[in-house]
């Protein structure tokens, strides 16, 4: 039943399926209609569903995200596409002050079946104002749920689940991932939306990653295997809530934790993962948990410098090696 497709195509199928099944599902955003979506996610939907259900908006991120909030309050299931995470900063009030708070402020009277889809991440030399993730901003907002699919299959599943959910959900997509390929089974049962998945079992250390870094972590694990380091890769799939049980089970088994994130290191997702897993697994840890993260600097335009600001596979390999064999690494370094 599985079919090979690109990440954006998987999102497109999920949208189409949800819109077909439920007339209250509609999407809106900049160029989602006639143009077909900046990353082609809404391709073909305008022709099929018309302008009211696939709405091209003015460049008013705060305004049209707020529109989504209002529509969700009266039982619609809006899927707001914000062209990039960089522009989502203009919609923070609608997301943080309205969508995330209305359920509580209303004493539980109003559901908030709002999905906000946001491409982000460091793509290729888009410069500082188009190269960031900022997931930690949303992670710190109670009431929001955040999904970070790394594969076409997860993209398909998690978008469908987000639309079906009555909670406000941010779907963070990675700009580099849109044109990655993978098998998508459209019939299989999906795991719960926020459950973490072990992408590669291993016994020597746990590498926790998400979104694009989950792919990098798997590449790094393959490299490490050549050196007889057996890494377990946990793909979080969700940044809020985080599936601590899956993470803790892994860390309790491997006794070592390495977190990989593309976003800045300071006060980032990794800080939360390390803190929470240290609280839960302190006794099981045989080495201090480590992070491989983006540098705390706005992204430079220059390609070499851009690459230097975000984790690369060799960085992950080196960090894992150091974590597993500190004495050996130190000796090598001193000998060198």
């Amino acid at each position: 039943m599985a079919e090979e497709m690109l990440y954006w195509q998987a999102l497109n199928r999920a949208m189409d399926r949800a819109m077909e099944a439920d007339i209250s599902v509609f999407t809106l955003g900049e160029d989602v209609g006639l143009y077909g979506g900046t990353y082609r996610v809404t391709e073909g939907l305008y022709a099929k569903y018309g302008e009211w259900r696939v709405r091209d908006t003015p460049i008013s991120e705060g305004g049209f995200t707020g529109l989504g909030v209002g529509a969700a309050m009266v039982g619609m299931r809006p899927v707001v596409e914000i062209m990039t995470i960089n522009f989502a900063l203009l919609a923070m009030d609608s997301i943080v002050n309205a969508a995330a708070k209305i359920p509580l402020m209303s004493g539980g009277q109003f559901p908030m079946a709002l999905v906000v889809r946001v491409p982000g991440g460091i793509a290729r030399q888009l410069a500082a104002q188009h190269s960031q993730r900022r997931e930690q901003i949303f992670m710190n907002v109670p009431g929001l749920r955040i999904a970070v699919p790394s594969t076409p299959q997860d993209a398909y599943w998690q978008l469908g689940q987000a639309i079906a959910s009555d909670d406000p959900i941010i779907l963070l997509e990675h700009e580099i991932l849109y044109f990655t390929k993978g098998m998508v089974d459209m019939v299989a049962d999906a795991p719960p939306m926020h459950r973490a998945i072990i992408r590669r079992p291993g016994k020597d250390l746990t590498i926790v990653a998400y979104s694009r870094t989950a792919l990098l972590a798997q590449e790094a694990a393959a490299e490490l295997a050549k050196e007889n380091v057996d890494a377990e890769v946990v793909d979080l799939r969700s940044l809020s809530p985080i599936d601590w049980n899956t993470c803790a089970t892994s860390v309790n088994k491997t006794h070592r934790l390495l977190m990989v994130e593309e976003d800045c290191r300071f006060a980032g997702a990794g800080a939360e993962v390390l803190a929470s897993l240290t609280e839960r697994c302190f006794a099981a840890l045989t080495a201090p948990p480590q992070r491989v993260a983006g540098l705390d600097i706005p992204t430079p335009y220059n390609g070499t410098l851009e690459a230097a600001t975000i984790p690369q596979v060799p960085d992950i390999v080196a960090a894992a090696r150091a974590l597993c064999q500190p004495a050996k690494v130190k000796a090598t370094a001193e000998a060198g």
């Binding site: 995200t65 529109l67 989504g68 009277q109």
Partner: protein
């Protein structure tokens, strides 16, 4: 206008005034905490517009929304209990003074980020059009909100897609302490709606009959599918911006001038002035005469007493609301978690 409607307007405004003055007193007694933004002076706007609305219309409000909620029909008990932060409050004590919601009455919330509510109103209106229903969305905001980006983004989308929104600007002339000519390049606020092709009108927001009439007219247009409408209601708040604002930036003479134009006394005057003559009553027809005749006997001989009775009535209602609020239990942390997760139902998250 029907005498009954006039009575309702008067009663709503008296309730509003009595309720708010009592809320101020309860605030001084520390039964109400936090921010408290009161409405005295502006009653004619809420009473006029909301009474012109249908039950199927939606109301989106601001942080100065107790009176909007009351006039929309939320029982005074539930409004007062919300101010007290109790379980019996309209938002279960989770929202407070600035965040009252009543799903059943389509009261879509009070919002405390100035201008934020405008896109939300537009979203509700978008859903109304998608469902093809003859409903209007009433969006209240103040003069201060008109300088927010969210306001302009919302008006642009409403104008662009002909959405059924009645934008009601409660122009009380002050963005907290900054007077309108010091915060707006175009102080004739209604003129700014023209930028988005939205028909707009400025009315005397201290005259409830004019507000009611204009509101009804505008809502008819909106429900008929003519697109959004804009009403600027010129009004004045007698108190400061909130309980923590003494309002010293306003000259005393200005306050006095507006108080002379009190919407309540105007309504009472109007009521008496409009009281039908026996000839007018006869012209209405026998059924109405029978009904109104009875009324006339009561009111015609003791009009003052009638108004007094309404006053006593609302006073009792507010007294009862305070007692209800005092008796209502404090909400638990469990209730807060439940409210936050109200949407999850049986959904398995992890």
């Amino acid at each position: 206008m029907e005498r009954e409607t006039m009575h309702r307007l008067l009663r709503d405004m008296l309730l509003a005034r009595t309720f708010e003055e009592r809320a101020a007193a309860e605030y001084m007694k520390a039964n109400i905490k936090g921010f408290l933004h009161l409405y005295p002076g502006e009653e004619a706007v809420a009473a006029g517009v909301i009474n012109a609305a249908d039950a199927s219309d939606y109301v989106v409000s601001t942080y100065r929304e107790h009176v909007h909620a009351l006039i929309r029909g939320v029982p005074a008990r539930q409004v007062m209990a919300e101010l007290f932060g109790r379980t019996g409050g309209v938002s279960g004590g989770m929202g407070g003074s600035m965040h009252m919601f009543d799903r059943e009455r389509r009261f879509m919330g009070g919002y405390a980020i100035v201008g934020e509510s405008c896109p939300i109103a537009v979203g509700i209106a978008y859903a109304v059009v998608m469902r093809d229903r003859p409903e209007a969305v009433i969006c209240f905001f103040g003069d201060g909100a008109m300088n927010q980006g969210a306001f302009h983004e919302a008006l642009n989308m409403a104008g662009l897609w002909h959405l059924p929104v009645l934008f009601v600007c409660e122009n009380n002339h002050y963005a907290i302490g900054t007077e309108v000519h010091r915060h707006s390049a175009v102080p004739d606020l209604y003129k700014r709606a023209a930028a988005y092709n939205i028909p707009a009108e400025r009315i005397d927001g201290m005259d409830v009959l004019k507000v009611y009439e204009a509101g009804g007219r505008a809502l008819d247009h909106v429900r008929r599918g003519d697109g959004p409408q804009f009403l600027e209601c010129e009004t004045y708040r007698y108190r400061g911006h909130s309980m923590s604002d003494p309002g010293t930036y306003r000259p005393a003479v200005e306050l006095k001038a507006y108080q002379a134009h009190d919407p309540l006394s105007a309504a009472i005057r109007e009521l008496e002035f409009r009281y039908p003559s026996p000839e007018e009553l006869a012209a209405v027809g026998p059924d109405h005469i029978a009904r109104l005749g009875q009324h006339m006997i009561e009111a015609g001989h003791a009009r003052e007493a009638e108004v007094e009775a309404i006053k006593q009535d609302v006073k009792k209602m507010v007294e009862d609301a305070v007692q209800f609020a005092l008796d209502s239990p404090q909400p638990t942390m469990d209730a807060a978690w439940q409210a936050l997760r109200c949407n999850r139902r049986e959904e398995v998250i992890i």
